[in-house]
């Protein structure tokens, strides 16, 4: 295999030494590790095509990888396969200021795009928390979100076209302009976790930088009041650019770490960012303040300047490392629920937290219902990771029971393959496999991820489903 690839790849594009492979053994979900056979670092589209042809011919599994910041093990190597790292294909190919688009290679960092177009008064909207490191190609694979999704959408709303290389080395362009003839394969590819093709070029939609940005901080003495004020704000017709909620354990951890000025005693904290045209923002700030007051906020602050705005955000943006500081390990869950279920879900999580003896801090994209419970544990304690994963599974199944989903933005990867058996029935999973085989009949692209096989689900269901539907009898079905 290595010999075949070295025929057309430069020496440094093929990594085979075990110590060098070690770097690629896991992604952001480091609980899962596996060495690949080889790591390939192509520099051109033609090289990607050639690599794919060889892998297809020799039936070698291919795991594509960007920066490896994913949190669901989507880039976990396959023991018999190669890792195809797109990190060296990181050029910004073209900026079109009139049409507000940027054509980029997949290895470019998310934040680098916004930095490169800032002088034109433009930005790229999706901003996952790893944006300083994560790549656009990885964002496409995971349909990455961020804190501004409610207003600006996910990756799928901000990509105009993709060029992909298929498993047989064919080059396809999907999308283009505001629409394209045929099926919406652009939407299908986004979030497909590297199982349908390898992205080699992306055209991004850019947006004008908002002229005015304001942030409100509101503290509440119950989670319900905070949740109700979010619903009221939205019912009032205000689509905030960011609408984040933290519960008390998350507030305390963040405050201790960053001194953002958060009220440590509050049961829930809301950060509400409003952006746009100055007149509109000013009016919306007034409405938001009134709604928070009406819903019993114990404290409301509006950032007076850019410095204070950054300070308000610093706590939220550092919530994960802040929690990391107070516990040997933490496990981040990523479910989405209808907003109206937030109170009931957080109460149930608190009950389980006691039951399992594992503290949970909740960080929540309240605007779009995307919940990130952080389970605090110590991996050195025997059985602690297993217990944590059990609790995580309970939380995800609860998200489903209230009408939500097992993953809002982190993807299924290897982590949530089991829960896919609960979210989708046999027909639905078989349909997904059929879609996959239309692209990759030999199932060589990222095998074992995202869509579980029938056998895998039989095993999972034997473990879990007997507790299934009646498990949450105490929770109101919403």
């Amino acid at each position: 295999m290595a010999r075949r690839l070295r025929k057309f790849l430069p020496r440094d594009a093929v990594i085979a030494q075990p110590e060098a492979l070690r770097v690629y053994e896991c992604d952001g979900l480091s609980a899962y590790r596996q060495l690949p056979k080889l790591v390939i670092l192509p520099r051109t589209v033609a090289q990607v095509q050639q690599v794919m042809r060889v892998c297809n011919e020799l039936r070698v599994p291919v795991v594509s990888r960007g920066a490896g910041t994913g949190l669901s093990g989507g880039a976990l190597p396959h023991a018999d396969g190669i890792v195809l790292s797109l990190a060296n294909m990181n050029a910004l190919l073209q900026i079109d200021a009139v049409h507000r688009t940027a054509r980029v290679q997949p290895g470019i960092r998310n934040l680098a795009v916004s930095e490169a177009v800032k002088h034109l008064g433009l930005f790229y909207a999706p901003d996952p928390s790893s944006q300083i490191a994560c790549t656009i190609g990885g964002n496409v694979a995971e349909n990455a979100g961020g804190v501004h999704c409610l207003k600006y959408g996910l990756t799928v709303h901000n990509i105009l076209s993709l060029t992909i290389v298929t498993i047989d080395g064919e080059l396809l362009t999907l999308g283009g302009g505001l629409d394209a003839p045929g099926y919406d394969l652009l939407a299908l590819l986004i979030g497909s976790e590297g199982m349908l093709g390898v992205v080699v070029e992306v055209t991004l939609k850019l947006l004008p930088l908002p002229q005015s940005v304001q942030v409100l901080l509101a503290a509440f003495d119950t989670v319900e009041k905070a949740a109700d004020s979010v619903a009221a704000l939205i019912a009032d017709g205000i689509i905030a650019a960011g609408l984040e909620m933290m519960d008390n354990p998350a507030i305390r951890a963040a405050e201790d770490f960053t001194q953002a000025g958060y009220p440590r005693a509050a049961a829930a904290l809301l950060l509400c960012e409003l952006d746009g045209i100055p007149q509109q923002v000013a009016a919306e700030v007034a409405v938001a303040r009134r709604i928070f007051q009406q819903h019993g906020a114990v404290e409301i602050r509006v950032a007076r300047d850019e410095h204070e705005r950054a300070r308000f955000w610093s706590g939220r943006k550092n919530a994960f490392p802040a929690v990391g500081r107070i516990t040997p390990d933490y496990y981040c869950i990523d479910g989405t629920i209808p907003r109206k279920a937030v109170g009931a879900v957080l109460r149930q999580i608190a009950r389980w937290s006691d039951e399992y003896g594992l503290p949970v801090a909740n960080v929540f994209h309240a605007g779009d219902g995307n919940l990130h419970p952080l389970i605090l544990y110590d991996a050195n304690q025997p059985g602690a990771l297993q217990k944590t994963e059990q609790l995580g599974g309970e939380i995800l199944r609860l998200c489903l029971a209230v009408g939500g989903t097992i993953t809002g933005e982190h993807g299924v990867g290897v982590e949530k393959v089991g829960e896919m058996c609960v979210q989708f029935n046999d027909h639905e999973r078989a349909q997904m496999h059929a879609v996959r085989e239309a692209f990759d009949p030999k199932r060589l692209l990222n095998p074992g991820k995202a869509i579980p096989t029938l056998a895998r689900c039989a095993e999972y269901n034997a473990m879990h489903v007997h507790r299934g539907a009646t498990r949450f009898a105490e929770i109101e079905r919403l």
């Binding site: 049409h99 409610l150 394209a180 003839p181 497909s192 017709g237 509109q280 949530k416 989708f424 239309a438």
Partner: protein, 379 residues
């Protein structure tokens, strides 16, 4: 919260599923022609097969304004959904065309057509959160859901948008909704040539303005501003133009959306030329020869919508030539209405992409019974 206006309700899932199962099980599989409100029978290639009336499967299943999501059976009339949303000062952001009063939610999703707001708020596919479908084997399946952020499994819900019913019979659709803007004002500019309109559109493109529609027809450019009062006032003052009355502005955008302008009348082929907004007008179109006393608009050969990204053409046009020009600009041409419905009405795909479409079609509909050849002759 106000009580929603009741909409007609009927659950026909079982009957529809049985029809598909029966058609699939035949020795000679029976093609089905899916019909919702029958408002877009003109669109796509000529329909074949036994009618499958999906429009009877109707009713709003879930709508809570503070969740910004509505779930309805696919046969629910679009106007009923829009009335329900309007009562809560909400709307569908993609401004769906209603070519007749019977247009259904499922038909809007299957055809994937969006109205004047599309470049600024998003297309149908941007608002689809989940679907329930019957595939070509008669299996009922759900993809996506009722929440905005959802990355579990392949995005098969969005794949249904614009698939013209060739991959599945839509049973239910969940759509994200948007708040209505507080204020809306339309301003007009006298521009004899479409080039003048495109120059203005390009000038506005990169600026943070509350633009929600931009069109040129019959010597007039119209811009629609949407937002709160102050933001709209500010835009009107800084960009200028002649303000239209609310009624006239609303009427124009509705007529453009629903193809009720005189431009769209008559039986001549109507072409939809989708291209990057700023592309120079290169298409020479002979103005139509019509009755001298007809509306002035009837002589127009070209109409620009979507800030120049969607161009409607009528008159003696060489379709093959136009498709070549479009392809060179990364665009495409749809033979939208009238004329030959047996040839390819959508722009052809590259050979490998077409082959992939065929494999996908087989993955959903192995016997080829769902709206066969409506999208492409061999799909």
């Amino acid at each position: 919260m106000s009580i929603p206006t009741p909409t007609p309700e009927a659950d026909c899932q079982q009957a529809l599923q049985q029809r598909v199962q029966t058609a699939y099980a035949q020795r000679q599989p029976q093609p089905l022609c899916i019909i919702g409100g029958d408002s877009k029978a003109f669109y796509g290639r000529e329909a074949v097969g036994e009618p499958l009336h999906a429009g009877a499967h109707c009713g709003v299943l879930d709508y809570d304004p503070s969740e910004l999501v509505i779930t309805a059976r696919a046969g629910t009339r679009m106007h009923a959904v829009q009335q329900l949303l309007a009562a809560e000062q909400q709307m569908l952001g993609f401004e769906p065309p209603r070519f007749s009063a019977t247009t259904t939610v499922g038909g809007a999703v299957a055809a994937g057509l969006s109205g004047p707001r599309r470049p600024y708020a998003g297309a149908v596919r941007d608002f689809v959160l989940g679907v329930k479908i019957i595939n070509g084997k008669g299996e009922v399946m759900r993809f996506g859901g009722q929440v905005m952020k959802n990355v579990a499994g392949f995005d098969i819900a969005r794949l249904m948008v614009g698939a013209m019913g060739t991959l599945g019979v839509l049973l239910e659709v969940s759509l994200r909704v948007m708040p209505q803007p507080q204020a809306e004002t339309t301003c007009r500019f006298a521009h004899r040539q479409p080039q003048q309109a495109i120059a203005l559109f390009n000038q506005l493109a990169a600026r943070p303005l509350p633009l929600s529609a931009a069109a040129w027809s019959d010597g007039t450019t119209r811009l629609r501003w949407s937002g709160n009062q102050a933001a709209v006032r500010n835009a009107v003052q800084s960009i200028g133009g002649e303000e239209e009355s609310d009624a006239a502005g609303r009427a124009f955008w509705r007529q453009l959306r629903d193809h009720d302008l005189p431009f769209f009348g008559g039986e001549q082929p109507l072409l939809r030329y989708a291209v990057r907004a700023g592309t120079e007008v290169e298409v020479e179109v002979e103005p139509r020869k019509t009755n001298a006393n007809a509306d002035t608009n009837a002589n127009a050969a070209q109409l620009l919508d979507w800030g120049g990204a969607q161009r409607w053409l009528r008159g003696a046009i060489n379709l093959d030539e136009l498709r070549k020009i479009a392809a060179a600009h990364g665009g495409h041409v749809t033979h939208f209405r009238h004329g030959d419905r047996q040839g390819e009405v959508f722009q052809s795909l590259s050979a490998p992409l077409h082959a992939l479409h065929r494999r996908l079609k087989r993955a959903f509909d192995p016997a080829g019974i769902l709206n066969p050849s409506r999208l492409y002759a061999d799909l």
